[in-house]
Amino acid sequence: MHHYKYFFKLLKQNRNGIIIYGIITIVMFIALTVSAKDIMDDVGISAERKSYAVSYVDNDNSELSKGLAEYLSKSNEVTDYGDKDDTEISNMVYFHITDYHMNIPDGFMDSVEAGNNDNLISYETGNGNFSSAAYDIGNRINTFLNMYRSYRAIGLSVEEAVSKTNDTIVDESEISIVAADNDTVEVSAEDTVIFNINQYYPYLILGMMSMGIGYTILITNKKETVDRCSVSPVPPYMTKLTNTLGLLTSGLVCWLLFTVFNFVYGAGSEIISNYGYVILINSFLTTMIACALSSLLTTFIKSASSLGMVTNIVSLSMAFLCGVFVPMRFIGENVLNFSKFLPFYWTILANNMTSSVQSKYSYDAKQLMICFVVEALFAVAISFIAIILNSKRIIKE
């Protein structure tokens, strides 16, 4: 008991790592809460189309360019940036104040009339020119202009063609999502936050266990501490045992806090109502894996800086390969086949089943059970390796 208490005393003295990972978790939660709506739009959870902030500079000032701006303003927030200079516009684009900025060149209508692309509309979007805004707004602009050309081709005047295009163009055909009576297709902001925070949980808990709690184990592994203990009436295995117990206790506390957060914040969410038990078991097994990995890493790493390096490499590479940061459905088959040998793959696969609307992975009880079993086996196997290495170390010492 004395050793066990000493572990937590040391933990209290070296709490920087825990504070840092605590802050990262809180920041991630705030970021997820703030951007929940955007995440829903980006992954296509909502079948409703997103309205974009579109800006333009009209150098043509023709019937067609005005008609185009009018058409875009029907379903977007359109602003005329004619009074702003290039630097101001560049700032607006960089800061995402405008999602899509277009510059309509002088003589644009004449080019469209002639059917050539001498004077094209140049556009820019924040963080590069390939985004959902670039695709969506670009598609609308081209549809509008091609339709205008068709109306002109059948003999309508410029004014008539613009007006007719604006009246008849369809870009919002109805979309319905079909689900069985007991299934839901609605995803709330809480669902998005709960799903994503559970997606990030493996990365966070491994960092917390390894760099937060593992640092304390490193201190007890120091030669001076080991020498001091070896001359005391404490069996050699006791330090290792208390380290393991301390690590497990800390892991359980983290898991409990996370569970309380899940069930309090997501009280009304569909994920917690329908799959609360999956979240509970999955996060518990993930915590055990993180504890086992942390125990393994601290067995052969001697310094805090090396622990930081190895933990970052292990956690980030697993996070990218197993679908923590990038949805699993976007990762290539070969990469996923390799990821099956990593524990977080099964954690993420189980979490994906809690929200098929968000992950596009359907719930499968048999597959879920396999995930849990494999996670448990990983925890046991890694712990076993850590125990063997620790035993060898004790013998050596």
Binding site: L120, S122, F325, S362
Partner: protein, 385 residues
């Protein structure tokens, strides 16, 4: 003395990890994770079905003939775009959607098309369905209008209805080619973050000069050389390593990760040099002002860098815009925002004035930080030595 500081720094494995290995490891992770995103967008054949909900024969038949075209090989890059399944009635189609047997279905009314999707629909299925429905409805309206206004031209229109002109071009950029990778910005911001991590070298540099930071620093501080010479030589050594690391990273990015770096080498060099000058100077100031030993100062500086990166939109890209509308001064003084913005201007805008004005801002901040650190360091005396 330069060689001494150079070797001292190179032997620090932790520093080498954070400024060299960590950014490259992240970039490799991006390549592995994002490598399949483009192919994930490839459209494979979609299982579909049609439900008749109206009595307009012509509308229904026309729509079916459009779908028929899309079932032919060659309608998609890898073959046919659609496979049309036959079902007895609407109920059977709905059941097939619920059970995941169909990717999408179309419900044809008298003058509109509704797209039906299963609960776990894919974004491509949604896009394909919506595009087919929108295009058909638009063309149908267009043909009706043409038949009313000019039946002669209508025939010609029907023949050419599939022709479409692209009236858009992405703003010309030195970095981005015609088919930019949507995830390039992750590489660029990681590169910038790596440069910002050089601040840790600056912190450790002060740790090696401030005698209250250990025996190593004590030895340096009692040497006969002038303090300002010590500081500037150490600074030059750090800058040399940082620049060498950046050149290596840029080489890896360009050669192995296929990240475009533009053709304007002068601008790129100006950016890399000025940002490194700033980040090391920023680190030296942190090392002078923050309390504690070298490790503690490094941790605190890491926290500052992380906060700075977070506020610059590293995690939530809307954040700088939000700050700009509420308190723009934060963006004006945040190192990560200034550096990211300079890189954005280097990559995506052509105005030299904008780019160099940002660089001047960075260099001015570097001069302020370095001058302040020199003033603080050279005046320190240790009575106990």
């Amino acid at each position: 003395m330069f060689k001494y500081f150079l070797l001292d720094r190179l032997r620090n494995k932790t520093a080498v990890f954070w400024i060299l290995i960590f950014p490259l490891a992240l970039m490799i992770c991006f390549t592995v994770a994002f490598g399949n995103l483009t192919s994930a967008d490839d459209i494979d054949m979609k299982q579909t079905a049609v439900i008749r909900a109206g009595s307009n024969d012509m509308y229904y038949e026309s729509f079916n003939s459009v779908l028929e075209e899309l079932t032919k090989p060659g309608s998609n890059r890898d073959g046919a775009l659609l496979f049309i399944n036959e079902y007895e009635d609407e109920e059977a189609v709905i059941k097939a959607l619920e059970e995941g047997d169909l990717d999408l279905a179309f419900k044809v009314y008298d003058d509109k098309i509704e797209t039906l999707l299963p609960k776990d629909y894919s974004i491509t299925a949604c896009g394909v369905g919506k595009t087919i429905a929108d295009t058909f409805m638009n063309n149908s309206k267009l043909i009706n209008a043409a038949l009313e206004v000019n039946p002669l031209e209508a025939q010609k229109l029907i023949q050419n209805i599939g022709e479409s002109i692209d009236f858009l071009t992405a703003k010309k950029s030195d970095f981005v080619d015609e088919s930019p990778n949507a995830y390039l910005w992750y590489y660029y911001s990681t590169f910038v973050m790596g440069i910002l991590f050089n601040a840790l070298s600056g912190v450790e540099m002060t740790g090696n000069i401030k005698a209250d930071n250990g025996y190593h620093a004590m030895r340096v501080s009692v040497c006969s050389k002038k303090k300002i010479k010590l500081i500037l030589t150490s600074y030059a050594a750090l800058l040399t390593i940082a620049l060498a690391v950046n050149v290596f990273q840029l080489f890896i990015m360009k050669t192995f990760l296929d990240v475009p770096l533009g053709t304007n080498i002068t601008k790129l060099i100006a950016f890399v040099v000025s940002c490194n000058v700033f980040s090391i100077a920023f680190g030296t100031l942190c090392g002078c002002l923050l309390k504690g030993n070298s490790d503690s100062k490094c941790n605190k500086t890491t926290a500052i860098i992380m906060t700075s990166s977070f506020l610059s939109g590293e995690m939530v890209c809307q954040l700088p815009g939000l700050i700009e509308s509420v308190c723009p001064i934060i963006n004006d003084i945040n190192p990560a925002t200034i550096m990211n913005m300079a890189f954005f201007r280097l990559a995506y805008t052509t105005s030299d004035l904008d780019f160099y004005s940002n660089l001047i801002k960075i260099v001015a901040l570097a001069v302020i930080c370095l001058t302040a650190s020199i003033l603080l360091l050279r005046r320190e005396r240790y009575a106990s030595l």
